[in-house]
Symmetry: C2
Subunit: 358 residues, 2 copies
């Protein structure tokens, strides 16, 4: 079964509410871009590539409702919607990358169609935006497949692979990045096993990764985040694969909080630590991880689980949603364009990537 | 306020049910040793020193109900109760240490009173056992106070101290070991702050440490276990202090799962990593941590939090309750007899400790 976390339905966008998994499989009909912004902010859809797709579809949906008499007016209104969608979450670069690509498509569309009557141009551009969002989703899925194929070459027969958070189909609206590699290795009959860190506070490992892998019938053992080091130290892990929310020019990787700890523990125990991410996750505009903004989320994500309060009233809470793993800890970065090793900057430049401005 | 997790009440033992904290402060009346064994197994009372005290009181309570006509019969029945109490949890050595000490007190008591009539000797030994359990509790508290005083010398003004799990008054039936050091530094006006790891799966950090520190008005920030590395890497932690469930002859430390990860991250970030524990936690009969049995607890501790199931049906779970931190990562071990550094074995031998046999 291929999980489909987001789907364009012409007048609405259908998303799988990931906050309800694994106990309930509930789909939401998103009727406008404001609802999409709320869904991204509330992590009903999450994962760096998936929120790029969600923002693109959200902008396409928002664009359909724009009433404008001139190109300029249309682009101003499109910019307003883009900023609303861009304000939802600060760390994953794919969000800004997708929105910039959508705006560029609109601008280029107007330039191409400059000679035709204004009214029809605007409706044409509305269609262009839907096509561009669909293309982003399709390219995402293709990138995932290539990442899976390239990454699977690093996986040997019988490997036990540790992963943190969820970088699966749910996170990418495709095949998955870290889980794409795992699925590809599994499909090749490599008899792999997965150890999934539960990934506090929002438990994406327990709720989403474990669910995806159980659905795919890939053997998975769930552990708390605090157990990862223990199992590495006991020789039970052959490699680690995680996704990424943003990769700096020097190869530093921002990813779900806890990733840095896993990377340090991996190196200490001579376990390879791989990052699987599409090139849309690479942000050449930031020199190192120190420049990547780290989202701070609400204390209640830590102090409550479901209906259970797990901490006393009055306690202070810190809740950074991401951390930065310095490039020195990263054994390789698996992208759809190839598997890179240090020095990462050279490899990234080889891709002739455009710098993303936020 | 001094938390009192266990209290001898002559015909019963009163324990604070730590599984109900922090939402409810509920005391249980333990009426016999079988109930005490269940309370230890179910972690209603937990923490290595505290389960030593609990086992001692449980044995004293069980002894009162023994009907025996001879010393031999009494000792056989005492042995049966001891084995039941010893079977509750495998890792913390204090449990076995306390039971052995109680049995030795009974044996020595009979030897001393050998000439008096049997009946009165048995009732005298029943009283001896109560006194011995009380002595264990009192010595525990005195050890904690000394650990606090000695450990506080390592804490500088304004330090932010990270701790994992709960090694407070709740864990020791005294003043606390790791939290004893923190409390002593706080009482000395050192303006310290604490970062408490929540300590999945059973959340002793969130539920117990945060609660104790809020009660003591010591500034505390709660984080998930996965955040410890991030805050060390950002230079936010000045030292780590944890307790211990068993320390091997070479200084390897078995403690709550996740401790090893914290220790590795501390060393990677040049943060001192201290272990605070009474000498009753040192087990000279095991050469290294590899010989310490690690308790595996039920999968439901990982897959459920309160009434919320957080993982899909059918997922495998691993749930080791402890891990081993190799001595190389331990900057110092703070005991009531002094602060030790490498080589630990020499320091331990200096204490002329007796080897505990299980």
């Amino acid at each position: 079964m291929q999980v489909k976390p987001i789907e364009w339905c012409d007048t609405t966008i259908r998303i799988l509410d990931q906050t309800r998994l694994p106990s309930e499989v509930v789909f939401l009909e998103v009727a406008d871009y404001v609802e999409m912004a709320a869904a991204i902010r509330g992590m009903r859809i999450r994962g760096a590539p998936a929120i790029g797709v969600a923002a693109a579809y959200g902008l396409a949906l928002g664009a359909q409702a724009i009433e404008a008499r001139t190109e300029e007016e249309f682009l101003v209104k499109l910019g307003t919607i883009s900023r609303e969608l861009a304000s939802t979450r600060p760390t994953a670069i794919n969000l800004f990358w997708a929105l910039e690509r959508m705006n560029r498509a609109a601008g280029e569309g107007f330039a191409l169609r400059g000679s035709s009557p204004k009214g029809s141009t605007i409706s044409e551009i509305k269609a262009v935006l839907v096509e561009e969002a669909k293309r982003i989703e399709r390219e995402n899925e293709e990138a995932d497949r290539r990442i899976g194929r390239l990454g699977a070459e690093l996986i040997e027969y019988g490997f036990t692979i540790l992963t943190h958070c969820n970088a699966g189909a749910l996170a990418t609206a495709g095949y998955g990045t870290a889980l794409g590699v795992i699925k590809a290795a599994h499909e090749q009959g490599k008899q792999i096993k997965v150890i999934a860190c539960e990934t506090r506070p929002l438990l994406q490992g327990a709720r989403l990764t474990a669910w995806e892998l159980v659905e795919e019938q890939i053997p998975v053992t769930l552990i708390t985040d605090s157990m990862a080091g223990h199992f590495m130290n006991r020789g039970r892990i052959d490699c680690v694969i995680v996704g990424a929310d943003r990769i700096a020019r020097n190869g530093d990787v921002a990813n779900k909080i806890g990733t840095y700890s896993v990377a340090v523990l991996a190196r200490e125990n001579s376990v390879p630590f791989y990052v699987a991410a599409p090139t849309s996750t690479i942000d050449l505009s930031v020199k190192s991880g120190a420049e990547i903004p780290i989202e701070e989320r609400s204390p209640e994500e830590v102090t409550w689980i479901g209906l259970t309060r797990i901490a006393p009233e009055g306690v202070e809470v810190a809740n950074p949603a991401f951390d930065v793993t310095p490039h020195q800890y990263v054994s390789a970065i698996i992208t759809e364009k190839g598997v890179l090793k240090e020095p990462y900057e050279e490899g990234f430049e080889g891709f002739v990537l455009k710098t993303i401005s936020q």
